[in-house]
Amino acid sequence: MSATPAETWFAVSPTDDPDCWKITFQEHHLGNPLIRSIHGGVVGSLIEHTAEKALDRALAEKSRSAKLELTTSAIDYLRVTKDSDLYARGSVMRIARRVAFMDVVCWQDSEDLPVARGACTLRILEE
């Protein structure tokens, strides 16, 4: 499947780990060019993207096909970011009939040193 304009702009792509997604650093991702940290909204975008993709995969494993719409994301910014690639791992907290709750951790150098975490709620619209 070809990348959407947003996926191209974010330079977001899957990794070898099916629950992990990656943003390849681009100059236009900078939030503070002086200290060369990534914009908090770009970090949040990766968290939201990963939550949706990880839920999509989890539903597929249950043979459920649904359109997903992210409704809420609550993000904690744990560390300052730098001008390098971002990674995020999504995990399911609970999948209910019409909504799902996902946790996402985001890091740069090491998964043990997360730069942000997110709790996302998604609406499940069965097709």
Binding site: T4, A6, W9, H28, I35, G44, V80
Partner: protein
């Protein structure tokens, strides 16, 4: 640029992210800032409906809410987002004008408490948010202090 509001500087500058969106500073009053932004084609996630990635709202809200904090300060100091919670009511469509408003509600113990919202031309809500921002963070590169916390 001395007389410009910080969010006006952000959206009118050659900032690598802000220069990618068509944003007009609509004004500020006290601790509130307003902007009008054209939803960019670059951030379309669903090509059938031309609707944008939720990241568009997240990026704009983080920017204008931080701008509201900067605008409320008597002296400009570095700030950092600590927490941001966004409810995405609907996805904007490419080319649509979105109106953003952010208000720094209060500052307590160096943390600024901020609300933000995006509305469409009919004043219907597109996204609503609350956030906290730490005031007076260290403005040096993480490369100089990789083990330290900024907040």
């Amino acid at each position: 640029m001395a007389d410009l509001h910080p969010i006006q500087v952000f959206f009118s500058s050659h900032h690598p992210l802000a220069s990618r969106v068509q944003a007009d500073f609509s004004g500020s009053a006290g601790d509130t800032v307003r902007v009008a932004i054209e939803a960019p084609q670059d951030l379309v996630q669903d090509s059938e409906t031309n609707s944008l990635h939720t990241g568009f709202a997240t990026i704009v809200l983080d920017s204008i809410m931080g701008g509201a904090v900067m605008g409320s300060l008597e002296k400009l100091v570095p700030i950092a987002t600590v927490g941001l919670s966004v409810s995405h009511l609907r996805r904007p469509v490419s080319g649509e004008t979105i109106h953003g408003k952010a208000t720094c509600v209060s500052v307590y113990n160096s943390l600024a408490y901020v609300t933000g919202e995006l509305r469409d031309e009919n004043e219907e809500p597109v996204a609503i948010a609350t956030g906290t921002f730490m005031i007076g963070t260290r403005a040096t590169s993480i490369r100089d202090r990789s083990e330290e916390s900024r907040i």
